[in-house]
Amino acid sequence: MNEDIHSISLLIVMVWPLLLAIPAVRSRLPWPGHLAIMPAAVRVILPGDSSFELSWLFFGTEFAIDGEVRWILAMTVAVWLLAATAAKSSKSDPTYDRTTTFFLLTLAGNVGVVLATDLVGFFSFSTLMGYSFYGLMIHGGNAEVQRAGRLYLIFLIVADLVLFEALLLAASTTEDLRYKVVRQAMVGTSSTQFYLWMALVGFVFKAGIWPAQLWLSSAFKSVPFSRALLLGGVPVSMGLLGMVRWLPFGEHAFYVFGMVIQMIGVASILYGALRFFTNATMKMLPAWSIITVTGFFMATLGTGLVYPALWSQYEYLTHPFIASLGIFLAALTFTIGRLQDTRPHPAFASRKVEDLSLWVGKWIGAIRRSSKDRLFGLQSLWRGSWLKVKEQPQRILDWGKPAVLVGGWSAAITMFVLLGLMLAWLAR
């Protein structure tokens, strides 16, 4: 009985935001954002682990909450409550309805990602989350926001395609796609390396980790803080979570792979710190701190992959770490946003750490100046040859137009005859 209640409560946690996302359902409800996260909040507080299975969804999938997941879910609840509070739009706002829909869809996707227990569930909900977040991000935004949104979208699509490949590799190796099974199954097969790299690239893109931080920083720069505070809790934390879930930690030592991740981590820390000190406006502070912190995380992950024993020892820390990262960033963004709103002082907004930036700026300026002329010449040369190369595929593609294809119809029907002959010949 108790089991059932727990399962049902988990189902409500996931379905409730989706239901509210339908405008007709929530039209009479006040505070839909807060309301939508309530079941999740209650579930975080309720003790006990539980799970429920949906055999008809996809190829049968399961959602569950346990000690680790509880951390992440708690973070999600906190971040979304903050975001719902920060979102100031009211029903009189003409874009209110659509914004709220995107908001709730992203929320639903986020909760699904947290609760999923297998790769397919994780992937599907993270897709829902990612694309709805895109909608939420750009909605009603200016040209700069639109550009940031497009950047995010490009990274998102590439990441999804790559992760999809990884998912397929996993699926072709094992029938059962639950994390634990996949971790064991993906070690020592012919496609292990493929899988690792795909998953790594996918999540690096999704989480905006260096060197794919481009979309993250431009999003922080342009998106209003009430939505930017979700960046840490939604795409970044879920990307890190994905890495923890998908990569085979603690099973086997991957030296090269682990080293690469460590290096990414170190580079990320350096990059984040440098930007933090050279060029930081208040608004961009969360962006650079996020890159630094994820760098630490990556360095840890790399170490875990090189020394599996170490990982097993400290594994229990990863989920609290991700959770605190999400909450910390959301709170930071929220606070800065509020400060900026209440004290719109120009100097405050563009405060820079002057001395360091001068020092680095001089060096960069010198390098630029010295290489500029040479680069320009190279560039024009390259442009010219590229244009020539570009014409070739154009010609091939034009071949399909009947005007170029000699006699259009005639050739097409001749091909029809040839196809018939070939079919009969091959059937022999």
């Binding site: 996809f58 190829f59 397929l168 005859v417 079919l423 009969a424």
Partner: protein, 486 residues
Amino acid sequence: MGTVITKIPWGVLLILLPLMGGMACFLWPRIAKILGLVLTFVGVLSVVGLGWQIMSNGVYHHAVGGWGAPLGINLYADGLSLLMLAITALVGFGISVYSSGYFERQHSTRFWPLWLLVLAALNALFLSNDIFNLYVTLEVMGLAAVALAALTGSRDALSGAMRYLLANLLGSLSYLFGVALLYHGFGSVDITTLAVQVKGSPTTWAALGLIGAGLVLKTALFPLHFWLPPAHASAPAPVSALLSALVVKASFYILLRLWLEIFGPLGGDVDTLFGVLGAVAVLWGSLQALRQTRLKLLVAYSTVAQIGYLFLAFPLAMSAGVMAWNAAVYLALSHALAKAAMFLATGNMLRFGGHDRIADLDRVVQRLPLTATAFALAGVSIMGLPPSGGFIGKWLLLEVALAQGQWGLVVIIVLGGLLAAGYVFKVLGQAFTQAAVMHESRAVPASMEWAALLLAFGAILLGFLATPVLSLVGIGSPFGAHEVMP
């Protein structure tokens, strides 16, 4: 209650009701719209009834005239036919709702009778178990589709329809020749009888060549796709949706059915050829779609690419029959929903802005939010992103390809998805921005927006229903009969 439902001959009603409806619409044009809407809705109910019947009694048989094969004609419906009928009914209802707002009075009186007759022909086709009867249904469908494609009477529409008609007639004659050879070689036109009788002989090979080429031409597989983009792009929006979503699938269904029952075991290397052509179609169609500057042509070329995916199942089915065919069916179903939604959404944008130049789409997202959502959701399914029907189809296909180590196909499938993402976002990107030239806008009825949106939702919803749909298609094991183990 249950027994009443299982006793009503739903399959026959699916054919006769739209047939009578078409004639009634012709006789009394005034009530055409109401009649069309009611009858397509009854069609949905009838498919539900048929589904109930099939689930409780197994496959559906109906010996027309009481003679039975081989003398008479048998109607037959298993899981595969049922799903095709269901998707026809759903998309058909969507198209009807859309059309009730779309057509002006003059075109309305012409559209409805032809549309209902196409629907009758489609249902008859999916229910038929007789290759000559299939020829007649193909002709009813083909001629009515051509007439619908030419409905606007513009220069493009007329030349597109003319190409379409000639291609259709050529395909039909080639198919009929194949039927003649099969009949004279094996003494029957009943598919089930032929499945037992047919042996590998020159007759069979020639029949495969003729029937295969004819149906491939009608299905518009590369390189015989030349007629599709002009015809689909110049027709009125609901007709484009009908042609791309359903009519093309009908000839593919026949090819699939005949391959499964008759030619598959004797087909030799034909499946490889189909696979290669399918792969080229995926790439070629996507690339051409990317290059288009007009929205309707872009969507039409996307159909060329998506048809390619269906044919990728042929080489894979050699050793993983059921899985590969499931993938093809899933792709066909989700493409039907998504492409119908896409064409309908395109029709909305065209009506709204008076043009379909992609570069000049003027803030469609803000001004037609439902339509933009419909296009985006349909795009998600076409790209094969989760959670959507297209995702499940591609997923199944990729899984089979990976299991067999067909890396080439894997690359094609993923690349096709990437290119699809390219052309869908090419449209959506422009939909957000303000165009350089402002256009006079014209109101779009709510029914047209909702029809597109609900069909797109259907395509997404299909992504959640993999298990029930795949268990439905297994009824009567259409793919199980000739499974060849490696």
